[in-house]
Amino acid sequence: MLSDTERRELEDAVEHYPDKRGATIDALLTIQRRRGWISDDTLLEIAKFLEITVEDVDSVATFYNLVFRKPVGRHVAFVCDSISCWIKGCEQVQEQIKTLYQADLGQTSPDGRLTVLPIACLGQCERAPALMIDQDVYGNVTPEKIEQIVEKYK
């Protein structure tokens, strides 16, 4: 069941569109912020609220990169693997994360702390390689800096 707060947030989101379906992405992201990911049950609750079918909601949930249909760790590290970051060594950054937290791309560290995902160009190419953890962006990342950066995310 949607909590009162969640319901209120969804009601706010719907305000911005002439029909409720317009708020599908907002709804998914809003609920995901609270629950971490989108389970089948969550999908159903959102569908009910928006008065559309659960298939409609799932077709959107499975399309967009930032909607998680599987549980993720307490934090998500997005490693940019697009061209400017590739030139500047994003593969070494990825390797270092894997060594330190035992999580390859698409995996979560065994302690549930960090999920590591590749992401398309973060628009930080002038300070490549770039990394985003949750909502924080880091540029000019080197393998040596990883531990210190991730330290903040327990």
Partner: protein, 434 residues
């Protein structure tokens, strides 16, 4: 040299408030609307200024607006949408503007809305731009409180409402009809054109989708006029452009410069040339959907009219440099993996063709490729050429590949003859003969 779009951006990255924006002339031109500047006049002003879309296509903005039905019989509401999807790898210019001077986008949208008589606007922002989202949310709230939004503008009947839509990350959302589907809460697959969005767009209503940087130009054109706007530029297209550069150059970054600045100037004068001990081999002039340019093209003016079609096109003007320490095949493989992953899957040639291209390039990198693979790659550049797929993503993906096959052919062939990537220290694969 004038830099109207970026001159007030704080160098320490802090936000610019409404008060500061107004102090430097912001929102002032809205007063001109009450003194008789009609929507048609605004359209003509932008046409005269020669403003061309900064989203990559370079379409004339005034011409685009002229297709929107106007007058009392026109469908209502009409929509103006800012395209802030900016997921083209190598591109970061819209972020610079949205983070640095958020009110400029709000004002640009009010004016563009007025020009086509659209009473509702959406800013479509990629989901990863959290700082832009935060600053635009603040700017919109400030503009509502000050009465620029949500109330009729003084002396007119025009009232404009503006919403921010943060998306959830998919490159194809940048394609304007896919963007419209995304805004409606659907999968972002492109729509058939015609009908064009200017007549049938968002929720079936007339809609204009405009790149963020394009919209930032409009208040300045209204304030200072089309002659001034033309004088900013070195070529027939009006205005300045945000040029950017990334890769192994001494000083990667962005600069607002006259439209028509050459790649050589950006590279040598602004970016300080290549990094120590690194040599230039080529560059993509504006994001990864553009063709490579090499040494011989560095003195071409980078605008929407001066680059011959057989060389390529400007795209977003944020360039990515290929250097001699980087394998061109690995470079193109990275691009094609991106395109294969971000293909929306709607049409077969792109959905099936791009992963195939990526797989072929992988076989070069792993030293398994043969001459036949080279011709297969070449064939894909024809199979996925403009007109063969539902939208521009796949043809865009072929531009760097096709030009790489032309300029860096020796490198492709070397991968075949050596049986490994010359840039990799991995040993050659043993060729198994069957």
């Amino acid at each position: 040299m004038e830099r109207p779009l970026t001159q007030h951006i704080h160098s320490d990255g802090t936000t610019r408030t409404l008060r500061e924006y107004v102090k430097t002339g912001g929102y002032r031109c809205l007063q001109r609307l009450s003194s008789g500047l009609a929507p048609k006049d605004l359209q003509r002003l932008v046409t005269d200024a020669g403003l061309r879309g900064r989203g990559g296509g370079g379409f004339l903005t005034g011409t685009k607006w002229s297709f929107v039905p106007m007058g009392a019989d026109a469908p209502k509401p009409k929509y103006i949408v800012a395209n802030g999807d900016e997921m083209e790898p190598g591109t970061f210019k819209d972020r610079v503007l949205m983070e640095g001077d958020s009110h400029g986008l709000v004002e640009g949208m009010i004016l563009a809305g007025y020009a086509i008589d659209a009473e509702v606007g959406y800013i479509f922002l990629r989901g990863e731009y959290h700082l832009s989202a935060q600053r635009l949310t603040e700017a919109i709230a400030e503009a509502y409180a000050a009465g620029y939004l949500g109330k009729p503008l003084p002396g007119t009947k025009f009232r404009f409402d503006l919403h921010l839509h943060a998306s959830a990350g998919r490159y194809i959302c940048g394609e304007e009809t896919a963007l419209i589907n995304a805004l409606e809460g659907k999968r972002a697959v492109p729509r058939a054109k015609p009908p064009f969005p200017q007549t049938v767009g968002l929720w079936g209503k007339p809609t204009v989708v405009q790149n963020v940087e394009t919209l930032y130009n409009i208040p300045h054109i209204v304030n200072k006029g089309s002659d001034w706007y033309h004088r900013l530029s070195r070529t027939q297209d009006g205005g300045t452009k945000i040029y950017g550069i990334s890769g192994r150059v001494a000083n990667p970054g962005w600069w607002e410069l006259p439209l028509g600045t050459t790649a050589r100037e950006v590279l040598e004068r602004y970016a300080g040339g290549m990094a120590d001990g690194i040599r230039f081999r080529g560059l993509l002039p504006g994001g990864i959907s553009t063709a490579f340019m090499t040494e011989e093209h560095l003195d071409l003016p980078l605008d929407f009219s001066s680059i011959p079609p057989e060389v390529g096109r400007l795209g977003t003007a944020t360039m990515i440099v290929l250097d001699d320490h980087t394998c061109p095949v690995g470079f193109v493989l990275n691009l094609e993996k991106f395109f294969a992953r971000e293909s929306c899957g709607w049409c077969t040639p792109c959905r099936e063709g791009l992963p195939w291209v990526a797989k072929l390039l992988m076989s070069f990198e792993e030293g398994r490729a043969t001459k036949d693979d080279l011709s297969l790659l070449e064939m894909h550049t024809k199979w996925l050429a403009p007109g063969h797929t539902f939208c521009g993503l796949a043809p865009g993906a072929m531009a760097p590949l096709q030009s790489a096959l032309k300029y860096f052919r020796d490198d492709f062939e070397q991968h075949i003859s050596l049986g490994r990537c010359p840039w990799s220290n991995k040993p050659a694969r043993l060729k198994v003969l069957v």
